[in-house]
């Protein structure tokens, strides 16, 4: 029943790449996530706040079903998932092959710090003499050559910027764990180890390599001595004698290859043992030398290794599909013809820099000052469209997100620095086109006092006396205006990702005029090249919501490509863990302490005495380096020897976030619940306590708390929730059909329910897309696929009458023609109930056949029923039903539709006069180009204010439109042969649907998502997903993307027969429960219900997210959360206060 899974490569680990990777990992695929930067998170790693909450919320992207697969912690610190292999600092060098069989060459930069040894203590940065601009703070502050790329990253690994490092070696002297391998650009940092029992050989090699060549050389006289040196510090090269007393060279090689796999080994052999040397090469030696040898024989071989280390190393991996999710870059204003004072005037910053300036973790610790002269800021201006909608900088496109970023920044500034701050946004059109944007903008103006000024700033000068910035712009009537501010924020637009040309070349992707990759018609993620998909912002800048949707959709399409039989199906690699039942045993805890290559000196007796007496504690074991193969061997020995049933690992934060818990669970047969990790290294290294007498007291504190938490861990093996492998899709429009096909292609049986007699929804009346792709054949193809698909059962003239049950096992009642009722079980539900054109009121609609809606015009064009007099005139009125209360949202498609229809009419009759009366032209992204084309074609655009809307006067056959023309500053009266009303969209009435499925609508009747930014296709109920126009207005390809994203989310639920209960999930102790039901109202997820048949409270384990609200509110301690039982919390509190 499980679909085929494989290995998929995701390029780019911004939020888009993370979303794609997590989705694929959640549906059983193995993922390699490659990122050019040294950290994950992309642009969002530097941004603390996102609208509409003005906070973060990235953590809401984490998997919700099998939560223990990933570390439950702030995602900005990093992503850890069992099935995602993350490779930062890595570039793609080549991609060859097709779907199912792609070979990808990766090149990883060296950070020159051994990640397994670095503790993130920062001692190295304290002594580093090099200061360079810090990209994390957009270059506004400096950092050292050795640095932690992201201050909040977890683990906080340091790395060396090889281009800035002077190789002074200071950092190496202070590193407590010998983690630093300086850039091998200088020979003295190339470390060679010579292991030979003959002193003369050792000494002469040392002299040749050290004195003559300048390498760093250490010598050892025996195998064990060599291995011990190798344990203490890494080496690039080992010269190893084969014949040594005690341990011979081959044994040393074997151990060295697990101890330090990166060390290259050259064997040294006498002529008689050449065969052994050849054997040694089979187990990992790179070469051999026959003794005796001269420097001329040795040095070229050493140089060969040296050169290879100095260069970067390439590696190839085999994958079945590739998703390019490498984001975009931002425009650099100093590169343009008009730099608007950027980098020349103090106080001119980019939007990204502004965000860093106001950040509490930013260069000024959150103080609002001008970066160059530290002057406080009182008057702020945001300048829109810098590098976008601009021919001078070759940017005839809209960057889609800058309007909202500027509004958010203005609101944040006013919230943070008070109402005396003057904040104004200078704009051409405020593109508030997506869900919730318009209300956010209105609130910014109304509640936060942000001033919106229409006009494009063209000149920025600096007043030499006051150092104030003077901005000049033309207002709506064309008059020049001047304004004085302290700081100007440039809302910089998008440019293609830096890697775009290279990746496009490798994958043969077509690029548009501005260098962004293009996708196939009717898809925002599929490309012409099989096996290559595009996600997130790679095809043009998107806000978080759209990035998340497109990334999920890209993942779905990649996964779907694997189902076609091109590749051999890989059965699911998530075996149900087999665990030992310890539920009837008393807690017996062993502690494993990692000393990180003996950087910590721990006296176990002293430590035991410091710990609070605890009957559950069996003992403490010390491991030198838990992360090395040697460490795991040691653990194996310890674990075999004792009869514990809980394990506490005290190590570094890396271990808390690596798969060690899973590995130990496998080794010990214990449930994951019974293995816990505590971080002892951070407090001890960061506080500089390594040599301090308090080290044991500090550690005892941490261990005590860990022991108490672990003693309280639930010993029962994790329960499994069965999942019914069957989906329900409601709605047979384009979104519903897409979602049904997406699931069915993954082998999921789907019931597709449509209330009308035919499929198609809005596709039935639209003729072509903005790009000119014809709709009728597309619709016919979809319908045919649906009818022929063996996994899809179609129910037309059917509605959903009832819905109950728990996530994964819903019970649905369908009502068909003639009230025929059927009941079936579904694991997941996708709602795609669609929407329709807003019914128009006013504007003379209905009084004259010359007044039409966009839909009616489309139909008349299609049937050639339109007959406009020659020369003729058409007036199009935008926002004729939306963008004001009670429907205060933008419908996204109407502006572009008007442009499309205007161009259609113009192509039939170039003499036709077309007037478009608009509030803000919402031609986001590359549709801006259509706007430019329409202006060039002579379409007249007149902006109107909502306070002075156009009026339509009908007098028999004479229709006139009156509108205030802002440039002429007088009222125009246009005689119109046709008036076209852009009415926008409303969702199909779905109050019933919401009631039946127990989900919430938003204020406008669209489905409310679980989180508008981070979980945009999930409803407020787990297992019910939403897409299409019922979710939010959008174009056909946007609706398709939401449907694909919803299907991807549903697959995460459906792809396996059962789901493991996560560690932190609530339980009910029925014997203590008084059925007061306080917990039901406290649960933010609706996971608790009163089951009247059983007369008890039941929990939907997949809905519960483990917040513990129920446990806190329960008066009887009947609602509890495993791991957080009150008695154990009391123990932890006692330990904390001991």
């Amino acid at each position: 029943m499980s679909h085929a899974t494989g290995h998929i490569l995701v390029v780019g680990a911004g939020i888009g790449g993370m979303r794609t990777a997590m989705d694929l990992a959640e549906t059983g695929h193995a993922v390699t996530l490659v990122e050019h930067a040294p950290h994950v998170g992309g642009l969002l790693a530097s941004l603390d706040h996102q609208f509409p909450t003005n906070h973060c919320g990235m953590c809401r992207m984490l998997p919700r079903l099998d939560r223990d697969q990933s570390v439950q912690a702030c995602l900005r610190k990093g992503l850890t998932h069992e099935r995602i292999h993350i490779r930062t600092d890595t570039d793609i060098m080549a991609i060859d092959g097709d779907t199912g069989n792609l070979t990808v060459t990766l090149r990883q930069k060296s950070g020159y710090v051994d990640a397994r040894r670095c503790m993130g203590c920062g001692a190295c940065a304290d002594v580093c003499p090099v200061d360079i601009p810090d990209p994390f703070n957009a270059g506004l502050s400096t950092r050292k050559a050795i640095h932690s790329p992201l201050p909040h990253a977890w683990p906080a690994l340091y790395q060396i910027d090889g281009t800035a490092c002077t190789r002074c070696g200071e950092c190496r002297t202070v590193c407590p764990t010998n983690a630093i391998v300086l850039p091998a650009g200088e020979k003295s940092h190339f470390r060679v180890l010579v292991v030979d029992d003959e002193a003369i050989v050792r000494e002469s090699i040392r002299d040749w390599l050290r004195e003559e060549e300048g390498f760093h050389v250490d010598v050892a006289d025996s195998g064990p001595a060599g291995l011990s040196l190798l344990t203490n510090a890494p080496y690039h090269l080992m010269l190893l004698d084969i014949k040594m007393p005690g341990m011979d060279g081959v044994d040393v090689l074997r151990q060295a290859s697990t101890l330090s796999p990166d060390t290259q080994v050259i064997m040294m052999t006498a002529f008689a043992t050449v065969e052994t040397a050849v054997e040694a090469m089979k187990i990992g030696a790179m070469d051999y030398l026959i003794k005796p040898f001269e420097p001329d024989a040795l040095i070229p071989k050493v140089m060969q290794v040296y050169d290879r280390v100095a260069a970067m190393t390439d590696q190839t991996i085999q994958v079945q599909a590739v998703i390019l999710n490498a984001g975009t870059t931002l425009y650099d204003p100093s590169s343009g013809k008009n730099n608007l004072g950027y980098q020349t005037h103090p106080g001119v910053v980019t939007s990204l820099e502004f965000e860093r300036i106001i950040s509490n973790s930013g260069p000024f610790a959150g103080k609002l000052v001008r970066p160059k002269d530290d002057r406080p800021v009182q008057r702020l201006a945001w300048l829109q469209c810098v590098g976008s909608r601009d021919f001078q900088s070759d940017g005839d496109f809209c960057s889609s997100v800058c309007c909202m970023i500027s509004i958010k920044e203005a609101v944040l500034a006013r919230e943070k620095y008070g109402p005396n701050l003057d904040a104004a946004i200078y704009y051409m059109d405020m593109r508030t086109y997506d869900k919730s944007f318009q209300r956010y903008r209105d609130a910014a103006e109304r509640d936060h006092g942000i001033r919106f000024v229409r006009g494009r700033v063209h000149t920025m000068i600096i007043d030499p006396e006051t150092q104030d910035l003077v901005i000049r712009y033309a207002d709506r009537s064309g008059d020049m205006q001047e304004s004085i501010v302290d700081m100007a924020v440039l809302a910089i637009g998008q440019r293609p990702a830096r890697a775009m040309p290279k990746l496009a070349d490798m994958c043969h992707l077509p690029l548009n005029s501005w260098g962004f990759a293009e996708t196939q018609p009717f898809s925002l993620t599929r490309t012409a090249k099989p096996g290559i998909f595009l996600g997130g912002s790679f095809t043009g800048l998107k806000d978080i919501r759209e990035t998340v949707i497109l990334s999920s959709a890209a993942g779905l399409n990649a996964s779907r490509a694997l189902q076609s039989g091109v590749t051999k199906p890989v059965t699911d690699a998530l075996p149900a863990p087999r665990t030992r039942d310890v539920s009837r045993e008393l807690p017996a805890i062993r502690i494993l302490i990692c000393t990180c290559h003996q950087a910590l000196q721990i006296d176990t007796d002293l430590l035991s005495r410091r710990l609070r007496p605890c009957p559950s504690l069996l003992g403490i074991d010390i491991v030198t380096a838990i992360c090395t193969p040697e460490g795991s061997e040691a653990i194996g020995r310890i674990l075999n020897a004792s009869d514990f049933n809980r394990l506490l690992v005290a190590a570094c934060p890396q271990e808390m976030h690596s798969g060690i818990r899973r590995d130990l669970a496998q080794m010990t047969g214990l449930d994951r619940n019974l293995i816990d990790c505590v971080d002892i290294h951070t407090p001890i290294f960061r506080k500089g306590l390594t040599e301090h007498p308090d080290i044991h007291a500090e550690m005892a504190h941490i261990l005590d708390m860990g022991i108490h938490r672990l003693a309280g861990a639930n010993p029962l093996a994790s329960e499994l929730t069965p999942i019914h492998h069957h989906a329900l899709v409601v709605g047979g429009g384009v979104a519903g059909m897409t979602a049904a096909l997406a699931l069915a292609d993954h082998g999921v049986p789907v019931d597709l329910v449509e209330k009308n007699a035919t499929l198609g929804g809005n596709l039935c009346w639209i003729q072509e897309t903005l790009q000119g792709d014809k709709i009728p054949p597309f619709r016919a193809e979809l319908e045919q696929k649906i009818s022929k698909h063996p996994n899809i059962t179609l129910y037309t003239q059917t509605t959903v009458a009832g819905f109950s049950g728990q996530t994964g096992g819903f019970v649905t009642t369908l009502e068909g023609p003639e009230k025929k009722v059927t009941t079936s079980r579904h694991g997941a539900v996708i709602l795609a109930t669609g929407g329709m054109e807003t019914p128009v009121q006013g504007y003379g609609y209905g009084q004259s056949p010359a007044i039409l809606t966009q839909k009616e015009l489309e139909e008349q064009i299609a049937t050639h029923a339109l007959n406009i007099g020659d020369p003729g005139s058409v007036v199009m009125i935008q926002c004729a039903g939306t963008r004001e209360e009670p429907r205060n949202y933008c419908s996204r498609v109407c502006c572009a539709t008007s442009l499309k229809q205007a161009m259609m009419l113009k192509s039939q009759n170039p003499e036709l006069a077309v007037y478009i009366l608009y509030r803000d032209m919402m031609t986001y992204g590359f549709t801006e180009h259509l706007y430019t084309r329409a202006r060039k074609a002579g379409v007249v655009f007149i902006a109107y204010d909502p306070e002075a809307k156009p009026t339509v006067m009908v007098d028999g056959n004479d229709v006139r439109v009156r509108v205030m023309e802002p440039v002429l500053n007088r009222v125009l009266e246009i005689q119109a042969d046709r008036v076209i009303l852009a009415a926008g969209m409303i969702p199909s009435p779905n109050t019933d649907i919401c009631g039946i499925f127990g989900i919430k609508p938003d204020p406008d009747g669209f489905y409310q998502e679980a989180d508008i930014k981070w979980r945009p296709v999930e409803s407020t109920r787990e297992g019910v997903f939403v897409c299409g126009i019922g979710l939010s207005p959008g174009t056909i390809s946007e609706s398709i993307a939401t449907a694909e994203a919803a299907a991807q989310k549903a697959l995460a639920l459906l792809f396996r027969p059962e789901i493991l209960r996560s560690r932190t999930t609530a339980r009910v102790r029925h014997s203590l429960c008084s059925l007061c039901q306080l917990c039901i109202s406290a649960c933010p997820y609706g996971a608790r219900q009163m089951e009247s048949d059983l007369n008890r409270i039941v929990i939907d384990p997949l809905m519960c997210q483990g917040c513990g609200a129920c446990a806190a509110i329960c008066p009887n301690d009947a609602a509890v959360m495993d791991e957080w039982l009150p008695q154990h919390m009391f123990g932890v509190i006692d330990a904390a206060l001991a």
Binding site: A73, K77, S361, P1084, G1108
Partner: protein
Amino acid sequence: MEPFEPTIVAFVCNWCTYTAADLAGTSRLSYPKNIRLIRVMCTGMVDPQYVIKALLEGADAVLVSGCHPGDCHYINGNYKARRRIRLLKEILPRFGFEPERLRLTWIGASDGIQFAEIMRDLTSQIRAIGPSQTRQTMII
């Protein structure tokens, strides 16, 4: 006589304040050592019992700190904490605790500096109030 060093128990939420505490650590900001962090999943799970228990067991103050309003990972747990702490502050004087010994703050994930500042500020405030008397004598 040695100056009084208060012991403070801080219940911090897994998502925001714990992250901020870690950021304060990685940024190596100095804050008083006598703060004992207890990580909880959400401030909404901090049972009043835990606060009272900590105060009775010898904490001179208790801090509860989570995500900013509107930012809770669990949608609304911090609002629940806010209501609960407000009620607790009403009750505490009856047990002989000054309400200042309980504090609720919002510290976001990137607010490492704020975390250190609040810890310093709370410590100096409690230092001024003096040691909790109730751990010796409970007044009811």
